[in-house]
Amino acid sequence: MKLIVAIIKPFKLDEVREALTPLGVQGLTVSEVKGFGRQKGQTEIYRGAEYVVNFLPKVKIEVAVNDEIADQVIEAIQTAARTGKIGDGKVFVIDIAQAYRIRTGEANNDAL
Protein backbone atom coordinates (compact mmCIF):
# COMPACT_ATOMS: atom_id res chain seq x y z
CA MET A 1 0.00 0.00 0.00
CA LYS A 2 1.08 3.56 -0.56
CA LEU A 3 0.50 6.71 1.40
CA ILE A 4 0.15 9.48 -1.12
CA VAL A 5 0.89 12.88 0.38
CA ALA A 6 -0.14 15.84 -1.73
CA ILE A 7 0.44 19.49 -0.90
CA ILE A 8 -1.91 21.63 -2.96
CA LYS A 9 -3.51 25.04 -3.19
CA PRO A 10 -6.44 25.21 -0.73
CA PHE A 11 -9.13 26.10 -3.24
CA LYS A 12 -8.29 22.95 -5.24
CA LEU A 13 -9.32 20.61 -2.43
CA ASP A 14 -12.85 19.89 -3.60
CA GLU A 15 -11.75 19.28 -7.19
CA VAL A 16 -9.12 16.81 -6.06
CA ARG A 17 -11.53 14.96 -3.82
CA GLU A 18 -14.05 14.67 -6.62
CA ALA A 19 -11.35 13.42 -8.98
CA LEU A 20 -10.50 10.56 -6.61
CA THR A 21 -13.97 9.16 -5.95
CA PRO A 22 -14.34 7.56 -9.40
CA LEU A 23 -11.05 5.72 -8.78
CA GLY A 24 -12.62 4.02 -5.80
CA VAL A 25 -10.90 6.06 -3.15
CA GLN A 26 -13.19 5.87 -0.17
CA GLY A 27 -11.54 8.27 2.15
CA LEU A 28 -8.74 10.69 2.77
CA THR A 29 -7.37 12.96 5.46
CA VAL A 30 -6.73 16.65 5.08
CA SER A 31 -4.75 19.15 7.10
CA GLU A 32 -4.10 22.85 6.83
CA VAL A 33 -0.40 23.54 6.41
CA LYS A 34 1.82 26.41 5.48
CA GLY A 35 4.18 26.13 2.56
CA PHE A 36 7.50 27.71 1.79
CA GLY A 37 8.89 27.42 -1.70
CA ARG A 38 9.52 29.16 -4.98
CA GLN A 39 6.19 30.93 -4.85
CA LYS A 40 6.76 34.35 -3.31
CA GLY A 41 4.84 35.30 -0.19
CA GLN A 42 2.39 38.18 0.09
CA THR A 43 3.23 41.43 1.79
CA GLU A 44 0.96 42.81 4.49
CA ILE A 45 1.35 46.42 5.60
CA TYR A 46 0.30 47.64 9.03
CA ARG A 47 0.80 51.33 9.72
CA GLY A 48 3.70 51.30 7.34
CA ALA A 49 5.36 48.19 8.73
CA GLU A 50 5.70 45.66 5.93
CA TYR A 51 5.57 41.96 6.75
CA VAL A 52 6.38 39.46 4.02
CA VAL A 53 4.42 36.36 4.78
CA ASN A 54 6.89 33.69 3.61
CA PHE A 55 4.57 30.85 4.48
CA LEU A 56 1.57 30.47 2.25
CA PRO A 57 -1.56 28.56 3.16
CA LYS A 58 -1.65 25.11 1.56
CA VAL A 59 -3.66 21.99 2.12
CA LYS A 60 -2.05 18.63 2.71
CA ILE A 61 -3.96 15.57 1.53
CA GLU A 62 -2.99 12.16 2.84
CA VAL A 63 -4.58 9.23 1.10
CA ALA A 64 -3.70 5.59 1.58
CA VAL A 65 -4.32 3.40 -1.44
CA ASN A 66 -3.51 -0.08 -2.58
CA ASP A 67 -0.64 -0.41 -5.04
CA GLU A 68 -2.90 -1.10 -8.01
CA ILE A 69 -4.53 2.28 -8.12
CA ALA A 70 -1.62 4.30 -6.77
CA ASP A 71 -0.45 5.59 -10.16
CA GLN A 72 -3.94 6.60 -11.27
CA VAL A 73 -4.45 8.42 -8.00
CA ILE A 74 -1.15 10.24 -8.33
CA GLU A 75 -2.07 11.20 -11.86
CA ALA A 76 -5.59 12.29 -10.92
CA ILE A 77 -4.37 14.46 -8.06
CA GLN A 78 -1.89 16.28 -10.26
CA THR A 79 -4.41 16.87 -13.01
CA ALA A 80 -7.03 18.18 -10.62
CA ALA A 81 -4.64 20.33 -8.59
CA ARG A 82 -2.72 21.83 -11.48
CA THR A 83 -3.19 25.51 -12.34
CA GLY A 84 0.15 25.81 -14.10
CA LYS A 85 1.07 28.68 -11.86
CA ILE A 86 3.96 28.50 -9.45
CA GLY A 87 2.97 27.12 -6.07
CA ASP A 88 0.79 24.26 -7.27
CA GLY A 89 2.56 21.95 -4.87
CA LYS A 90 3.96 18.47 -4.64
CA VAL A 91 3.02 14.85 -4.42
CA PHE A 92 5.10 12.47 -2.33
CA VAL A 93 4.60 8.72 -2.29
CA ILE A 94 5.54 6.65 0.75
CA ASP A 95 5.28 2.91 1.39
CA ILE A 96 2.88 1.75 4.03
CA ALA A 97 3.88 -1.38 5.93
CA GLN A 98 0.50 -2.06 7.48
CA ALA A 99 -2.92 -0.46 7.67
CA TYR A 100 -5.91 -1.05 9.94
CA ARG A 101 -9.48 0.06 10.16
CA ILE A 102 -10.04 0.84 13.84
CA ARG A 103 -13.77 0.16 13.83
CA THR A 104 -13.43 -3.40 12.58
CA GLY A 105 -9.78 -4.21 12.98
CA GLU A 106 -9.67 -5.12 9.29
CA ALA A 107 -6.11 -5.02 8.00
CA ASN A 108 -4.28 -3.68 4.94
CA ASN A 109 -6.21 -3.32 1.70
CA ASP A 110 -9.47 -4.16 3.45
CA ALA A 111 -8.85 -1.30 5.79
CA LEU A 112 -8.79 1.37 3.14
Binding site: I45, Y46, R47, G48, Y51, V53
Partner: protein
Protein backbone atom coordinates in the same frame (compact mmCIF):
# COMPACT_ATOMS: atom_id res chain seq x y z
CA UNK B 1 -15.14 71.90 32.19
CA UNK B 2 -13.18 74.44 30.24
CA UNK B 3 -12.20 77.60 32.01
CA UNK B 4 -12.97 79.83 29.02
CA UNK B 5 -16.46 78.53 29.09
CA UNK B 6 -16.63 79.41 32.77
CA UNK B 7 -15.10 82.84 32.30
CA UNK B 8 -17.42 83.60 29.43
CA UNK B 9 -20.33 82.38 31.49
CA UNK B 10 -19.17 84.23 34.55
CA UNK B 11 -19.21 87.34 32.44
CA UNK B 12 -22.92 86.90 32.02
CA UNK B 13 -23.47 87.69 35.66
CA UNK B 14 -23.47 86.18 39.14
CA UNK B 15 -26.58 84.11 38.57
CA UNK B 16 -25.10 82.22 35.67
CA UNK B 17 -21.72 82.34 37.34
CA UNK B 18 -23.21 80.52 40.30
CA UNK B 19 -24.89 78.12 37.96
CA UNK B 20 -21.50 77.14 36.68
CA UNK B 21 -19.49 77.23 39.85
CA UNK B 22 -17.89 73.94 40.80
CA UNK B 23 -17.15 74.72 44.42
CA UNK B 24 -18.54 72.99 47.47
CA UNK B 25 -19.14 76.31 49.20
CA UNK B 26 -21.82 77.17 46.69
CA UNK B 27 -23.35 73.76 47.05
CA UNK B 28 -23.76 74.28 50.79
CA UNK B 29 -25.82 77.36 50.01
CA UNK B 30 -27.78 75.41 47.49
CA UNK B 31 -28.80 73.09 50.30
CA UNK B 32 -29.85 75.94 52.55
CA UNK B 33 -32.81 78.13 51.48
CA UNK B 34 -31.12 79.82 48.59
CA UNK B 35 -30.96 83.30 47.11
CA UNK B 36 -32.31 83.85 43.60
CA UNK B 37 -28.75 83.37 42.41
CA UNK B 38 -28.35 79.89 43.93
CA UNK B 39 -27.87 77.15 41.34
CA UNK B 40 -30.54 74.50 41.19
CA UNK B 41 -30.19 71.02 39.83
CA UNK B 42 -31.10 70.66 36.13
CA UNK B 43 -32.32 67.12 35.47
CA UNK B 44 -31.64 67.40 31.74
CA UNK B 45 -28.02 68.39 32.20
CA UNK B 46 -27.64 65.79 34.93
CA UNK B 47 -29.09 63.09 32.68
CA UNK B 48 -26.62 63.98 29.95
CA UNK B 49 -23.66 63.99 32.34
CA UNK B 50 -24.64 60.62 33.81
CA UNK B 51 -24.71 59.25 30.27
CA UNK B 52 -21.47 60.98 29.29
CA UNK B 53 -19.76 59.35 32.24
CA UNK B 54 -20.96 55.93 31.10
CA UNK B 55 -19.83 56.69 27.54
CA UNK B 56 -16.30 57.69 28.56
CA UNK B 57 -15.94 54.63 30.78
CA UNK B 58 -17.01 52.58 27.76
CA UNK B 59 -14.17 54.17 25.81
CA UNK B 60 -11.60 52.52 28.08
CA UNK B 61 -13.38 49.23 28.71
CA UNK B 62 -14.15 47.71 26.33
CA UNK B 63 -13.28 50.36 23.71
CA UNK B 64 -9.58 50.99 24.12
CA UNK B 65 -8.97 47.48 25.45
CA UNK B 66 -10.29 46.08 22.16
CA UNK B 67 -8.66 48.68 19.94
CA UNK B 68 -5.28 47.73 21.39
CA UNK B 69 -5.88 44.00 21.84
CA UNK B 70 -6.65 43.52 18.16
CA UNK B 71 -3.29 44.95 17.14
CA UNK B 72 -1.02 42.68 19.15
CA UNK B 73 0.00 39.09 18.60
CA UNK B 74 -2.29 36.35 19.81
CA UNK B 75 -0.08 35.53 22.78
CA UNK B 76 -0.51 39.02 24.22
CA UNK B 77 -4.20 39.74 23.63
CA UNK B 78 -5.34 39.09 27.19
CA UNK B 79 -2.37 40.85 28.72
CA UNK B 80 -3.20 44.02 26.83
CA UNK B 81 -6.85 43.91 27.85
CA UNK B 82 -5.80 43.24 31.43
CA UNK B 83 -3.87 46.50 31.51
CA UNK B 84 -6.85 48.66 30.54
CA UNK B 85 -9.13 46.79 32.91
CA UNK B 86 -6.75 46.97 35.87
CA UNK B 87 -6.11 50.67 35.26
CA UNK B 88 -9.85 51.28 35.35
CA UNK B 89 -10.04 49.74 38.80
CA UNK B 90 -6.82 51.31 40.04
CA UNK B 91 -7.67 54.75 38.70
CA UNK B 92 -11.08 54.66 40.34
CA UNK B 93 -9.65 54.03 43.78
CA UNK B 94 -6.84 56.57 43.39
CA UNK B 95 -9.28 59.23 42.19
CA UNK B 96 -11.57 58.65 45.16
CA UNK B 97 -8.81 58.56 47.74
CA UNK B 98 -6.87 61.64 46.63
CA UNK B 99 -6.80 62.24 42.87
CA UNK B 100 -9.99 64.27 42.61
CA UNK B 101 -8.93 66.44 45.50
CA UNK B 102 -5.51 67.10 44.00
CA UNK B 103 -7.00 67.97 40.64
CA UNK B 104 -10.02 70.11 41.43
CA UNK B 105 -9.79 71.67 44.89
CA UNK B 106 -7.63 74.20 46.64
CA UNK B 107 -6.50 77.68 45.81
CA UNK B 108 -3.03 77.12 44.34
CA UNK B 109 -2.63 77.52 40.59
CA UNK B 110 -0.23 74.56 40.59
CA UNK B 111 -1.78 71.76 42.63
CA UNK B 112 -5.06 71.07 44.39
CA UNK B 113 -5.65 70.68 48.12
CA UNK B 114 -6.82 67.84 50.31
CA UNK B 115 -10.39 68.95 51.09
CA UNK B 116 -11.92 66.11 49.12
CA UNK B 117 -9.83 63.17 50.37
CA UNK B 118 -12.06 60.09 50.15
CA UNK B 119 -14.61 62.46 48.57
CA UNK B 120 -15.28 64.04 51.97
CA UNK B 121 -17.87 66.77 51.66
CA UNK B 122 -19.60 65.41 48.58
CA UNK B 123 -23.15 64.89 49.79
CA UNK B 124 -26.17 63.80 47.82
CA UNK B 125 -27.26 67.42 47.51
CA UNK B 126 -23.85 68.93 46.76
CA UNK B 127 -23.98 70.63 43.39
CA UNK B 128 -21.30 71.54 40.89
CA UNK B 129 -22.97 74.16 38.74
CA UNK B 130 -26.39 72.72 38.09
CA UNK B 131 -25.40 69.06 38.29
CA UNK B 132 -24.56 67.02 41.38
CA UNK B 133 -20.88 67.21 42.30
CA UNK B 134 -20.91 63.41 42.52
CA UNK B 135 -21.63 63.37 38.79
CA UNK B 136 -18.95 65.95 37.98
CA UNK B 137 -16.49 63.89 40.03
CA UNK B 138 -17.46 60.70 38.20
CA UNK B 139 -17.21 62.32 34.77
CA UNK B 140 -13.73 63.59 35.55
CA UNK B 141 -12.78 60.18 36.93
CA UNK B 142 -13.29 58.60 33.54
CA UNK B 143 -10.69 60.96 32.07
CA UNK B 144 -8.30 60.08 34.88
CA UNK B 145 -8.79 56.42 33.92
CA UNK B 146 -8.43 56.55 30.15
CA UNK B 147 -5.25 58.64 30.10
CA UNK B 148 -2.91 56.02 31.59
CA UNK B 149 -4.71 53.33 29.60
CA UNK B 150 -3.75 55.19 26.41
CA UNK B 151 -0.09 55.07 27.44
CA UNK B 152 -0.08 51.27 27.57
CA UNK B 153 -0.20 51.15 23.78
CA UNK B 154 3.36 52.41 23.62
CA UNK B 155 4.97 49.58 25.60
CA UNK B 156 2.59 46.77 24.71
CA UNK B 157 3.86 43.19 24.62
CA UNK B 158 6.86 43.68 26.89
CA UNK B 159 6.23 45.49 30.19
CA UNK B 160 5.87 43.74 33.52
CA UNK B 161 2.33 44.02 34.87
CA UNK B 162 3.60 44.79 38.37
CA UNK B 163 5.90 47.55 37.17
CA UNK B 164 3.08 48.92 35.04
CA UNK B 165 0.83 49.24 38.08
CA UNK B 166 3.52 50.99 40.12
CA UNK B 167 4.42 53.37 37.32
CA UNK B 168 0.82 54.30 36.59
CA UNK B 169 -0.02 54.85 40.25
CA UNK B 170 2.76 57.40 40.52
CA UNK B 171 2.12 58.87 37.08
CA UNK B 172 -1.57 59.49 37.70
CA UNK B 173 -0.85 61.37 40.92
CA UNK B 174 2.36 63.15 39.98
CA UNK B 175 1.65 63.93 36.33
CA UNK B 176 -2.06 63.72 35.55
CA UNK B 177 -3.46 65.37 38.65
CA UNK B 178 -1.31 68.52 38.47
CA UNK B 179 -1.63 68.98 34.70
CA UNK B 180 -5.41 68.56 35.03
CA UNK B 181 -5.34 71.18 37.80
CA UNK B 182 -3.28 73.60 35.69
CA UNK B 183 -5.79 73.47 32.87
CA UNK B 184 -9.21 72.89 34.39
CA UNK B 185 -9.27 73.86 38.08
CA UNK B 186 -11.57 76.81 38.79
CA UNK B 187 -11.94 79.41 41.49
CA UNK B 188 -15.19 79.70 43.44
CA UNK B 189 -16.29 82.47 41.09
CA UNK B 190 -15.90 80.23 38.09
CA UNK B 191 -12.73 81.88 36.81
CA UNK B 192 -9.67 79.79 36.02
CA UNK B 193 -7.50 78.75 38.96
CA UNK B 194 -4.88 76.58 37.25
CA UNK B 195 -2.05 78.62 35.74
CA UNK B 196 -2.44 77.29 32.20
CA UNK B 197 -6.14 77.99 32.29
CA UNK B 198 -5.53 81.43 33.73
CA UNK B 199 -3.02 82.02 30.98
CA UNK B 200 -5.90 81.61 28.55
CA UNK B 201 -4.94 78.26 27.08
CA UNK B 202 -7.92 76.53 25.45
CA UNK B 203 -8.45 72.83 26.06
CA UNK B 204 -12.09 71.87 25.92
CA UNK B 205 -11.91 68.14 26.55
CA UNK B 206 -8.30 67.17 27.05
CA UNK B 207 -5.90 67.80 24.19
CA UNK B 208 -3.15 68.63 26.64
CA UNK B 209 -4.43 66.97 29.81
CA UNK B 210 -5.24 63.64 28.19
CA UNK B 211 -3.72 63.11 24.76
CA UNK B 212 -0.45 65.03 24.71
CA UNK B 213 0.09 63.94 28.28
CA UNK B 214 -0.42 60.26 27.42
CA UNK B 215 1.29 60.39 24.04
CA UNK B 216 4.49 61.90 25.31
CA UNK B 217 4.60 59.63 28.36
CA UNK B 218 4.17 56.73 25.98
CA UNK B 219 7.00 57.87 23.77
CA UNK B 220 9.31 58.16 26.75
CA UNK B 221 8.22 54.77 28.04
CA UNK B 222 8.78 52.91 24.78
CA UNK B 223 12.23 54.43 24.47
CA UNK B 224 13.18 53.64 28.07
CA UNK B 225 11.94 50.06 27.77
CA UNK B 226 13.47 49.56 24.36
CA UNK B 227 11.91 47.75 21.42
CA UNK B 228 10.21 44.36 21.50
CA UNK B 229 12.47 41.37 20.77
CA UNK B 230 12.45 40.88 17.03
CA UNK B 231 11.17 44.38 16.29
CA UNK B 232 11.84 45.09 12.62
CA UNK B 233 12.64 41.47 11.81
CA UNK B 234 9.89 39.21 13.16
CA UNK B 235 6.38 39.29 11.83
CA UNK B 236 4.38 41.25 14.36
CA UNK B 237 1.20 41.50 12.31
CA UNK B 238 -1.96 42.24 14.28
CA UNK B 239 -3.69 39.10 15.42
CA UNK B 240 -7.29 40.13 14.89
CA UNK B 241 -8.16 43.56 13.51
CA UNK B 242 -11.87 42.84 13.86
CA UNK B 243 -11.37 43.50 17.57
CA UNK B 244 -9.67 46.79 16.74
CA UNK B 245 -12.57 47.86 14.55
CA UNK B 246 -15.02 47.21 17.38
CA UNK B 247 -12.75 49.13 19.70
CA UNK B 248 -12.37 52.09 17.36
CA UNK B 249 -16.13 52.22 16.85
CA UNK B 250 -16.79 52.24 20.59
CA UNK B 251 -14.14 54.91 21.03
CA UNK B 252 -15.89 57.01 18.40
CA UNK B 253 -19.32 56.61 20.00
CA UNK B 254 -17.94 57.13 23.48
CA UNK B 255 -16.12 60.26 22.37
CA UNK B 256 -19.47 62.02 22.21
CA UNK B 257 -19.52 61.77 25.98
CA UNK B 258 -15.90 62.86 26.12
CA UNK B 259 -16.33 66.01 24.03
CA UNK B 260 -20.03 66.92 24.14
CA UNK B 261 -20.06 65.90 27.79
CA UNK B 262 -17.31 68.42 28.47
CA UNK B 263 -19.92 71.14 27.96
CA UNK B 264 -21.27 69.89 31.31
CA UNK B 265 -24.75 70.57 29.95
CA UNK B 266 -27.23 69.35 27.35
CA UNK B 267 -27.27 72.56 25.37
CA UNK B 268 -26.30 74.16 22.09
CA UNK B 269 -22.65 74.07 22.91
CA UNK B 270 -22.82 70.33 23.59
CA UNK B 271 -24.63 69.89 20.30
CA UNK B 272 -21.98 71.86 18.45
CA UNK B 273 -19.24 69.90 20.21
CA UNK B 274 -20.86 66.63 19.14
CA UNK B 275 -21.16 67.81 15.55
CA UNK B 276 -17.53 68.90 15.20
CA UNK B 277 -16.40 65.68 16.88
CA UNK B 278 -18.21 63.63 14.26
CA UNK B 279 -16.97 65.80 11.40
CA UNK B 280 -13.30 65.73 12.43
CA UNK B 281 -13.35 61.97 13.00
CA UNK B 282 -14.85 61.35 9.58
CA UNK B 283 -12.54 63.77 7.77
CA UNK B 284 -9.46 62.28 9.39
CA UNK B 285 -10.58 58.72 8.65
CA UNK B 286 -10.96 59.56 4.97
CA UNK B 287 -7.71 61.53 4.92
CA UNK B 288 -5.68 58.65 6.36
CA UNK B 289 -7.44 56.17 4.10
CA UNK B 290 -6.72 58.08 0.92
CA UNK B 291 -3.17 58.93 1.96
CA UNK B 292 -2.50 55.23 2.49
CA UNK B 293 -4.36 54.28 -0.67
CA UNK B 294 -2.15 56.58 -2.70
CA UNK B 295 1.13 55.78 -0.98
CA UNK B 296 0.66 52.07 -0.19
CA UNK B 297 -1.72 51.05 -2.99
CA UNK B 298 -4.39 49.69 -0.63
CA UNK B 299 -6.73 51.35 1.85
CA UNK B 300 -6.46 49.31 5.03
CA UNK B 301 -8.94 48.79 7.84
CA UNK B 302 -6.24 49.56 10.37
CA UNK B 303 -5.61 52.77 8.45
CA UNK B 304 -9.15 54.09 8.40
CA UNK B 305 -9.79 53.33 12.07
CA UNK B 306 -6.46 54.89 13.05
CA UNK B 307 -7.47 57.96 11.07
CA UNK B 308 -10.80 58.20 12.86
CA UNK B 309 -9.07 58.07 16.23
CA UNK B 310 -6.55 60.66 15.09
CA UNK B 311 -9.38 62.99 14.15
CA UNK B 312 -11.11 62.43 17.47
CA UNK B 313 -7.89 63.21 19.30
CA UNK B 314 -7.25 66.39 17.34
CA UNK B 315 -10.78 67.77 17.80
CA UNK B 316 -10.75 67.09 21.54
CA UNK B 317 -9.25 70.42 22.62
CA UNK B 318 -11.12 72.25 19.85
CA UNK B 319 -14.63 70.89 20.39
CA UNK B 320 -16.73 73.61 22.00
CA UNK B 321 -14.58 76.30 20.38
CA UNK B 322 -14.61 75.64 16.63
CA UNK B 323 -17.35 75.26 14.04
CA UNK B 324 -18.07 72.63 11.37
CA UNK B 325 -15.73 74.06 8.74
CA UNK B 326 -12.88 74.32 11.22
CA UNK B 327 -13.52 70.75 12.27
CA UNK B 328 -13.38 69.57 8.68
CA UNK B 329 -9.96 71.13 8.18
CA UNK B 330 -8.63 69.98 11.56
CA UNK B 331 -9.72 66.45 10.69
CA UNK B 332 -8.10 66.43 7.27
CA UNK B 333 -4.82 67.72 8.67
CA UNK B 334 -4.84 65.33 11.62
CA UNK B 335 -5.50 62.34 9.38
CA UNK B 336 -2.55 63.01 7.12
CA UNK B 337 -0.08 64.11 9.78
CA UNK B 338 -0.88 61.23 12.16
CA UNK B 339 -0.52 58.83 9.24
CA UNK B 340 2.98 60.20 8.91
CA UNK B 341 3.47 60.07 12.67
CA UNK B 342 2.58 56.39 12.86
CA UNK B 343 4.58 55.43 9.78
CA UNK B 344 7.28 57.79 8.52
CA UNK B 345 8.24 59.42 11.78
CA UNK B 346 8.27 56.21 13.81
CA UNK B 347 10.30 54.30 11.27
CA UNK B 348 12.69 57.17 10.77
CA UNK B 349 13.45 57.43 14.48
CA UNK B 350 13.27 53.65 15.02
CA UNK B 351 11.57 53.69 18.42
CA UNK B 352 9.06 50.90 19.02
CA UNK B 353 5.83 52.69 19.94
CA UNK B 354 4.01 49.37 19.59
CA UNK B 355 0.50 50.67 19.02
CA UNK B 356 1.32 54.32 18.25
CA UNK B 357 0.26 55.95 21.47
CA UNK B 358 2.55 58.84 20.56
CA UNK B 359 2.08 58.71 16.80
CA UNK B 360 -1.68 59.12 17.14
CA UNK B 361 -2.38 60.66 20.56
CA UNK B 362 0.76 62.71 20.99
CA UNK B 363 0.96 64.03 17.45
CA UNK B 364 -2.81 64.39 17.11
CA UNK B 365 -3.08 66.15 20.44
CA UNK B 366 -0.41 68.68 19.53
CA UNK B 367 -2.01 69.39 16.16
CA UNK B 368 -5.40 69.82 17.76
CA UNK B 369 -4.22 72.04 20.57
CA UNK B 370 -2.49 74.41 18.17
CA UNK B 371 -5.24 74.43 15.54
CA UNK B 372 -7.72 75.26 18.27
CA UNK B 373 -5.95 78.58 18.48
CA UNK B 374 -6.37 78.99 14.75
CA UNK B 375 -10.02 78.05 14.26
CA UNK B 376 -11.64 79.13 17.55
CA UNK B 377 -14.90 81.01 16.95
CA UNK B 378 -15.84 83.65 19.52
CA UNK B 379 -19.56 83.09 19.51
CA UNK B 380 -19.20 79.35 20.05
CA UNK B 381 -16.67 79.21 22.87
CA UNK B 382 -16.26 82.86 23.79
CA UNK B 383 -12.73 83.06 22.43
CA UNK B 384 -11.61 84.12 18.99
CA UNK B 385 -8.80 82.32 17.18
CA UNK B 386 -6.25 83.36 14.59
CA UNK B 387 -8.80 83.40 11.77
CA UNK B 388 -10.89 85.81 13.77
CA UNK B 389 -7.87 88.02 14.28
CA UNK B 390 -6.71 86.78 17.66
CA UNK B 391 -3.21 85.68 16.62
CA UNK B 392 -2.04 85.62 20.22
CA UNK B 393 -4.18 82.59 20.96
CA UNK B 394 -1.96 80.37 18.81
CA UNK B 395 1.05 81.39 20.83
CA UNK B 396 -0.82 80.72 24.07
CA UNK B 397 -1.66 77.27 22.77
CA UNK B 398 1.93 76.56 21.76
CA UNK B 399 3.17 77.57 25.19
CA UNK B 400 0.62 75.33 26.93
CA UNK B 401 1.65 72.44 24.70
CA UNK B 402 5.33 73.06 25.36
CA UNK B 403 4.88 73.13 29.12
CA UNK B 404 2.82 69.94 29.07
CA UNK B 405 5.28 68.11 26.83
CA UNK B 406 8.23 69.14 28.95
CA UNK B 407 6.62 68.29 32.29
CA UNK B 408 5.21 64.90 31.37
CA UNK B 409 8.31 63.99 29.39
CA UNK B 410 10.74 64.73 32.18
CA UNK B 411 8.70 63.34 35.08
CA UNK B 412 7.72 60.21 33.19
CA UNK B 413 11.38 59.59 32.36
CA UNK B 414 12.44 59.93 35.98
CA UNK B 415 9.65 57.68 37.26
CA UNK B 416 10.47 54.98 34.74
CA UNK B 417 14.20 55.04 35.43
CA UNK B 418 13.65 54.78 39.17
CA UNK B 419 11.20 51.90 38.83
CA UNK B 420 13.55 50.16 36.44
CA UNK B 421 16.28 50.31 39.07
CA UNK B 422 14.01 49.20 41.89
CA UNK B 423 12.05 46.39 40.29
CA UNK B 424 12.76 46.29 36.57
CA UNK B 425 10.33 47.32 33.83
CA UNK B 426 10.55 44.48 31.34
CA UNK B 427 9.60 40.85 31.35
CA UNK B 428 12.51 38.51 30.61
CA UNK B 429 13.12 37.12 27.12
CA UNK B 430 11.58 33.79 27.96
CA UNK B 431 8.37 35.45 29.10
CA UNK B 432 8.31 37.86 26.18
CA UNK B 433 8.65 34.98 23.72
CA UNK B 434 6.02 32.92 25.50
CA UNK B 435 3.67 35.87 25.53
CA UNK B 436 2.32 37.90 28.42
CA UNK B 437 -1.01 36.07 28.48
CA UNK B 438 0.46 32.92 29.88
CA UNK B 439 3.68 34.23 31.36
CA UNK B 440 2.09 36.93 33.50
CA UNK B 441 -1.54 35.91 33.81
CA UNK B 442 -1.53 32.14 33.40
CA UNK B 443 -4.18 32.19 30.69
CA UNK B 444 -4.32 31.81 26.95
CA UNK B 445 -6.82 32.30 24.15
CA UNK B 446 -7.64 28.85 22.86
Amino acid sequence: MNHRFKKFAAGVGPALGALLSASAAWAEEAAAPAAAAAPTLDTGNTAWMLVSTALVLMMTIPGLALFYAGMVRKKNVLGVMMQSFALTALGTVLWVVIGYSLAFTGTSPYIGGLDRLFLDGIEKTTLSGNIPESVFMMFQMTFFIITPALITGAFAERMKFSAMLVFMTLWMLVVYAPVCHWVWALNADGTALGFLGAMGALDFAGGTVVHINAGVAGLVACIVLGPRKGFGTDNMAPHNLALSVIGAALLWVGWFGFNAGSALAADGRAGMAMAVTQIAAAAAALAWMFAEWILRKKPSVLGIISGAVAGLVAITPAAGFVGPKGALIIGLIAGVVCFWGATGLKHALKYDDSLDAFGVHGVGGIIGAILTGVFAVANIGGTAGLLEGNAGQVLTQVIAVGITVAYTGIVSFILLKVIDLVMGLRVNNEEEREGLDFALHGETIH
